[in-house]
């Protein structure tokens, strides 16, 4: 079984938009991979005119929020950096126990990479200028700039969501069969750790566990 990877389009978001954007994208992905009996729940974004769908599972919602909190903490420690969140779906396979491996292994069959570029809010000229300048009221221009930027981000989010839909529709064969009583496939959300090298090590570890050389393709 191949591991399908989907690199989503990079989104430029501000710090206060991270939570909403990540919730929207992660829940949309999980909803497409929650093939058990679900009661869909429509959620409206507060910052954008977008409605996404959740599974309605409380535990899932808590876990996702928890990971988002960790990511936000990481972003605060590493400002102005491109970051990536990986949502992986795997199967648990039993394995022959050996010296270096565990009894069970995870077979990742799908990975979603959410690419974010967290930017800082641009400062106004009048607030930081030390020189005597003609202070022009930035009120209206700032509002227009913000609204245009907001529209751009909203359009980008829509593109990402359409990308998810397209990916889900085009690739269905790698999805494992539905187990009885299971609502969604086991998943894992990986956020960048304190060091970039550690993030890479996590990926290598995954390679070793899965044993699929084509996983990173």
């Amino acid at each position: 079984m191949n591991c399908e990877v989907c690199q989503l389009k990079e989104l430029e978001v501000e710090h206060f938009e991270i939570r909403e954007v990540l919730r929207c994208i992660l829940h949309t992905i999980v909803f497409h991979r929650a093939l058990g009996l679900v009661r869909p729940k429509d959620v409206d974004l507060e910052l954008f005119e977008i409605t996404y769908v959740q599974c309605g599972d409380v535990e899932l919602e808590k876990k996702i929020d928890e990971r988002i909190d960790h990511f936000i903490s990481w972003v605060e420690k590493h400002p102005n950096k491109k970051s990536q969140i990986c949502l992986s779906f795997y199967e648990v396979k039993s394995k022959q126990p050996s010296w270096f491996t565990n009894k069970t292994e995870r077979l990742y069959w799908e990975q979603w990479y959410v690419n974010l570029n967290v930017t800082q809010h641009p400062k106004h000229h009048s607030s930081k200028s030390h020189h005597t300048k003609v202070v022009v009221d930035p009120g209206e221009s700032a509002i227009e700039e913000r609204s245009s930027r907001r529209a751009m981000v909203e359009a980008s989010i829509r593109e990402v969501l359409f990308q998810i839909i397209k990916f889900v529709n085009e690739k269905k064969d790698h999805v494992p069969p539905i187990s009885e009583g299971v609502i969604y496939f086991p998943y894992e959300i990986t956020i960048p750790s304190s060091s970039d090298s550690a993030f890479g090590m996590d990926m290598i570890k995954r390679m070793l566990h899965s044993g699929h050389p084509t996983m990173l393709s």
């Binding site: 009996l37 409605t51 769908v53 969501l161 839909i165 889900v168």
Partner: protein, 612 residues
């Protein structure tokens, strides 16, 4: 083989139904509301288990559609149509639009535009080979899983297309719009014209292999709906008005400037009154118990000299609407008559305002100022009572909070009341007067007898209010005392006598001297005689004369030394000329009784002095 084909047919059929359900639930507000109600129930229906997507009850229209599209090989075309209601005028003119349907009816021809077209089709070759055995089972599981995936992505995409925004707008109940979304399901569709295709995009979902054919779902949609000028109608949003006349949370005495005229447009018989001034109402006192609502104190004071209306009287005050100009006078006259009636009844039923301990007398006026008002105030919300046109002096109108007794009038003599009754328009008022007259003639109603009883208490107390209070306590009818003192106010107005400036002066008069029960008939006759002189005057004038007569009545002893104050003597001297003409010879029994009372008083005083 039939079993396998049956399974496939079932999957395809349910798949079509599910897609139709998802689409209509996300595009038709009415169906969405039904679904929301059904989703509130926790139970999972059989139809929900199909494709593991709980959507709630299928609307009945859906079942009918499924029945009409039984041929699975025929495509199912679902058109989402935007209906824009034409308007001959701008939306601003339609300030009130009760509903979109009404707006549509009032507007011109509507324009229908297909903004989305969903096509669900099972492409199957005519001749095919169905899988069998284990392969078929695996095949159906895969088909079923892929159908689930397709439905998930379709469900998500339904919320990303532009038509979803319109659906959400229509689903909200806060506003009405000049457009609507309708749907049409058929097995064929007219192709779009070139103009219609402009601005439309097509998205096709990956077909689901369902051997021997495949399930195909595609959508043609308008990428942008901004060209359609969709805007809400300018309408008055429903607003709950909590501040209205008669609301339990509204101050009943609050003025409603916009409703002042409306207040008079009601069925209150106050219609004949002059329109109210812009002065706000004064809040009634707490003990007014609602009877005085809507009546500002100033107005009632202008109707001073009138006895309070004892609204607890079972007899209704059937007073026709008097002319506006004369309303005040007529009301006053009637007030006197009603007082007479009231005195004939049990005064214990009267409300607290008539008790001596009552606070400001204003409410007394309120209740007695206008029997109509009192009657209606108990029935309806307070209204503005206009100031009647009266030429009365207002100097006696200000309530004296220290002595509420002055605001009531004494009972009139039967003849005076009778005469006054003749000027009344209300037949019931006349009847009340006649009844009172009958009572005065021979009987001694409790009220009247109590009025003239307990000479001890009265004589001991020289204080005006104390005497009255003593009188009142003995009689148990404080209202009488009030009525007596207030009657002089109207008399003042008519007689133009400055001596009535202080209502306490009435108490200085030994009215109690004539309050013995045996002299009751004499008083009645005196009152009657005097009333003849003032028969032609107003009701209040008659009452005033009565008060004056009582005040200037000669003592039983016919001795000026009985008066303790010089002022009293002066009054007596001035008044005796008036009253002497009406002095009746006293009986020996009366004199003897008085003598006995004085003797007892003397003994008492002696005993007290002896103890000291």
């Amino acid at each position: 083989m039939d079993r396998e084909s049956g399974k496939l047919e079932q999957i395809v059929s349910q798949f079509r139904s599910k897609i139709l359900h998802v689409i209509l639930d996300s595009r038709v507000p009415s169906l969405h509301q039904q679904q929301q109600e059904s989703l509130s129930l926790s139970r999972v229906r059989k139809t929900d288990k199909w494709f593991n997507l709980v959507l709630g009850d299928r609307p009945p229209a859906l079942e009918n559609l499924n029945f009409s599209l039984r041929n699975l090989l025929d495509p199912m075309v679902i058109d989402i149509i935007l209906v824009r209601h034409g308007s001959c005028s701008s939306s601003v003119d339609n300030l009130y639009v009760p509903s979109a349907a009404a707006a549509a009816a009032a507007a011109g021809p509507s324009i229908e535009t297909v903004i989305e077209r969903w096509v669900v089709q099972y492409d199957c070759p005519r001749v095919f080979a169905t899988p069998s055995g284990a392969d078929a089972a695996v095949s159906y599981k895969k088909i079923y899983k892929k159908c689930i995936l397709l439905l998930r992505s379709l469900y998500t995409q339904m919320r990303l297309l532009p038509a979803y925004i319109i659906f959400r707008q229509l689903s909200s109940l806060s506003q009405t719009y000049n457009f609507d979304l309708v749907y049409k399901v058929s097995s064929f569709s007219h192709p779009f014209s070139r103009e219609e295709e402009d601005g439309m995009k097509v998205y096709s979902f990956a077909p689901v292999e369902a051997l021997p054919g495949c399930l195909c779902v595609s959508v043609t949609y308008h990428a942008s709906l901004s060209d359609f000028n969709l805007e809400p109608l300018v309408s008055l949003p429903p607003k709950i008005i909590t501040d209205y006349v008669g609301s339990p949370t509204t101050d009943p005495m609050r003025s409603f400037p916009s409703s002042e005229r409306g207040a008079h447009a009601t069925s209150f018989p106050l219609r004949g009154l002059r329109p109210p001034s812009s002065a706000p109402f004064q809040r009634p006192h707490s003990w007014s118990s609602g009877f005085h609502r809507g009546i500002p104190p100033t107005r009632t004071q202008s109707l001073a000299g009138s006895p309070p209306v004892y609204r607890t009287s079972p007899k209704p005050y059937d007073i026709t609407s008097p002319p506006t100009d004369l309303y005040g006078n007529r009301i006053q006259n009637h007030r006197v008559s009603t007082l007479q009636q009231a005195t004939a009844f049990d005064e214990y039923k009267l409300s607290p305002p008539f008790s001596p301990s009552a606070s400001p007398s204003t409410p007394t006026y309120l209740s007695g100022a206008n029997p109509l008002l009192t009657r209606h105030c108990s029935e309806t919300a307070p209204v503005t009572i206009p100031l009647p046109l009266t030429g009365r002096s207002t100097r006696y109108l200000s309530p004296n909070s220290s002595d509420p007794s002055r605001h009531s009038l004494p009972p009139l003599s039967p003849r005076s009341s009778k005469h006054d009754a003749s000027s009344q328009e209300s037949p019931s008022g006349i009847r009340s007067y006649r009844k009172l007259e009958a009572l005065r003639a021979g009987e001694s109603p409790s009220g009247l007898s109590n009025l003239y009883s307990a000479p001890k208490v009265v004589r001991d107390s020289k204080d005006d209010s104390g005497r009255f209070s003593g009188l009142l306590s003995s009689s148990g009818s404080p209202r009488i005392g009030f009525s007596r003192s207030s009657s002089r106010l109207s008399f003042q107005d008519d007689m133009d006598d400055c001596e009535f400036s202080c209502p306490f002066d009435v108490d200085d008069v030994d009215v109690s001297d004539s309050s013995s029960q045996n002299t009751e008939s004499k008083r009645a006759s005196e009152f009657t005689a005097q009333s003849n002189l003032v028969g032609k005057k107003s009701q209040d004038a008659a009452v005033g004369i009565l008060v004056h007569m009582l005040r200037t009545a000669p003592p039983l002893r016919q001795d000026s030394s009985c008066y303790s104050t010089h002022s009293l003597r002066t009054e007596y001297e001035g008044g005796v000329g008036i009253a002497s003409g009406f002095f009746m010879p006293r009986k020996t029994a009366d004199a003897l009784e008085e003598l006995n009372s004085y003797r007892e008083m003397k003994d008492l005083l002696l005993s007290k002095s002896g103890m000291k």
